[in-house]
Symmetry: C2
Subunit: 462 residues, 2 copies
């Protein structure tokens, strides 16, 4: 009666994966009990299978015993998607880490979910191909997690997010059935698109065990520019102007004054003169000629929108300098020692100025330090509430500000998450964006995959 989950399941799980791959020591439980959000609940057991058949056996065991089963990629998410909410079994995909195939004729790769995204990118670039999705975590996050959360990144503006590159999946259902969705063909309209349904489903529908990814040719050339503006509105006008001139750069990153200030204060570096209100980084890629043309249009659009300075980088070294500036921001925010509550809200890009007005309103109303930067081409802005974790009052104000932010974003016809997913961190806010009917429908879809609700309970739904 009172035997705990570990006692009940551990012997059987050991038979499936071998003794050394079932862990219940305090260190493992703590390590696998959190992600980049830094909040979580430890599992009762950690199991580290070697292949799909072992995963099917684990799923079947958990389903029979109604034990929560949380699947973990590299644990780099910001919303707790890979972290248990109430114990149970944590299944880590770290041993499924092989690139199985890079097919240069059909422009695709077949990989196991534990492959680190950056490793895949380097492998395909070595043969002149390109896997565009570039979440900031790409050197530490895994393809399986990227697919489960539908990761984005700066290049999403031109290339789309992870979703666009997933052709086919192998996945395990809670009952232990192994299903195959999609195919190696780039077009497929046979039955419902379960592939796209699984992308972004945050480990709540099935366990992804193999991923077939579409690749594109590696762009032969790229060029980057950095432009400074007196205020956010000028920067956004530049973005709108270049889009009206029908240019789609690979990347348009926007950095606000608070971000520049954080770098100044915490790293002692001046990325721009003190009166700078916003910085844009624009990168074009493609053929040599197209890149030259696009970056010129972008530079002119910045000047026409009142940029106070426009610097063009052609060589790799100059490019690197510009991107270093972007990376320093995250470093500076970490250096504050504050809790960084990172929200990846997204609005139609023409409404980015309204979003920044909302952010300023939150600063004024709640007395919070808020740093914002992100993907201006997409309207996907990372809004970082910087909070003293020992100050209960400030944390309470941040919680209030969060809700107001989400309500305003939805009122601007945007979305409360563009890249990070819902996990448990944003679950209480789902109803701000989705109607009761839509949520009820999603729960019925969930039940179609996972009738006993064992997969990643406590996620997505409030």
């Amino acid at each position: 009666m009172s035997r705990s989950i570990p006692e009940l399941l551990a012997p059987e799980l050991r038979e499936v994966v071998g003794r050394e791959y079932v862990r219940a020591d305090a260190g493992s439980l703590e390590r696998y009990g959190q992600d980049a959000l830094g909040i979580g609940h430890p599992p009762d057991l950690v199991v580290i299978p070697a292949d799909t058949n072992q995963i099917a056996a684990i799923a079947r065991l958990c389903d029979e015993r109604r034990v929560p089963l949380t699947v973990r990629g590299a644990g780099t998410g910001y919303t707790g998607g890979a972290v248990p909410t109430r114990g149970g079994v944590l299944l880590s995909l770290e041993r499924l880490n092989r690139i199985l195939e890079i097919d240069e004729t059909n422009l695709l790769a077949v990989v196991e979910p534990g492959v680190i995204t950056g490793d895949l990118q380097r492998a395909v670039e070595a043969v002149g191909l390109f896997y565009p999705p570039d979440p900031a975590s790409l050197d530490i996050s895994s393809i399986g997690g990227n697919v489960a959360e539908c990761a984005g990144g700066p290049r999403g503006f031109k290339y789309g997010t992870t979703r666009r590159y997933v052709l086919a999946l192998e996945a395990v259902l809670p009952g232990g059935e192994i299903i195959h969705t999609g195919s190696k063909a780039v077009k497929n309209v046979v039955g419902y698109d379960l592939t796209q349904l699984l992308v972004g489903s945050e480990g709540t529908l099935a366990i992804i065990t193999r991923v077939t990814l579409r690749l594109v040719p590696k762009p032969p050339a790229r060029a980057t520019l950095r432009a400074l503006f007196g205020d956010i509105r000028g920067a956004v006008t530049a973005v709108s102007t270049l889009i009206r001139r029908r240019v789609v750069p690979a990347t348009i990153e926007l950095i606000d004054a608070a971000s520049l200030e954080a770098v100044r204060e915490h790293l002692g570096r001046d990325l721009a003169p003190r009166d700078t209100g916003a910085m844009l980084i624009v990168e074009a890629d493609g053929t040599e000629a197209a890149v030259a043309e696009e970056i010129d249009v972008a530079a002119q659009a910045c000047r026409d929108a009142g940029a106070t300075a426009v610097a063009l980088a052609s060589g790799d070294e100059e490019r690197e300098q510009i991107w270093t500036a972007r990376r320093l921001i995250s470093l500076a925010l970490r250096a504050t020692g504050l809790l960084k509550i990172n929200h990846d809200v997204v609005v139609p890009r023409g409404r980015v100025p309204d979003l920044f007005a909302v952010i300023q309103g939150l600063r004024d109303r709640f007395g919070l330090r808020i740093v914002a930067f992100g993907h201006a081409g997409d309207g996907n802005i990372h809004v970082n509430l910087m909070v003293d974790r020992d100050n209960a009052d400030e944390r309470a104000r941040a919680a209030q500000a969060e809700r107001v932010l989400f309500e305003r974003v939805v009122a601007l016809e945007g979305s409360i998450s563009g890249e990070h997913g819902i996990g448990f961190a944003k679950a209480p806010y789902l109803g701000i964006e989705l109607s009761a009917e839509a949520m009820a429908l999603m729960k019925r879809v969930k039940a179609a995959f996972d009738p006993h609700g064992i997969l990643n309970p406590g996620k997505i739904f409030p």
Copy 2:
């Protein structure tokens, strides 16, 4: 007890949409009882609502009475998706035909489902924007049908199919609930991606009543080439070569010798010398400079693969001549007077030569006339079985050939449909591609949306 569906429902439907928009005359029932496949079953009633609220009321009535409800766009599909299989109510979306919004800042359009795809394309191109999906039916098919079937077209190789352009949907569930999926933001990972699940669901899950589409800038330049080859293998080698040289043209169309022969025989036109085994049409688009570069690489790839002739069209008139050749094929096939059983199978592009070997095997084994052409970049080849509709034996041989074709395509890691969907025409073959587990899962998803199974019964599933 014995009152028929029309008698039961007609008065209430008239109250919803007005007397003139409920039809039960023989002409209407016949007209709305078939699509481009030319086979079907008439509905008992045709209802032509004006807006989403009327559609919700119709859905609720049909759901309460358990009456089959089939939704029809422009009725141009090849698999019977918009045609009843056993009577019931046919809901035509023809009155929901407005372009509601073209947003040049956010690069999107909001349209009603009855808008003709070509009309939308012209409207957005007039302001320098571009809606890439280009099914052959674009001047007669509607956006709603394109979304429901996930229509493709020649440009799919570079630009992807309809799926890639659908940002958000308004849809009516069978119970009458109106749901909104996605948003105007180009990234959205809030809950399951119901938008992508509805794309390609063939009217079996919900009734799409409004579509928000992503647009891209209109490419400023394009160039087209036509290349002739001694055989299919040469043409496919050219395609692989240009892809290995890392070029992605907008379109790569492949036309086989049987297609050229059909034009010669039925229209008296010689599109190429008699010993031509295959024709390629390659079109590049983008900036002036990029287009020049890409089309040169493509021409060289064709020559290196042994093309017997390569002709480059730069002006609009020359371009038009090349595309006319492509369009003449469909005309010639119609002129045969034969039944054209058009299958849009798709294989990984490197396997297109294997697919053509399969097709030749079918000709030899079943004594059938088979004409094949299509989107070589995608591996999506339209295989047309040309059958005398009065010859029962030939029809039976065609049915056998069909099954063998589908089995071989799946063995080549392809898919039995790349663009046309399953409808009822391909439903018997679903099990060739999908496992029993995957089909069972899809049926549970169907039940999550449509518990009483009223929406488009007899479609997709065997």
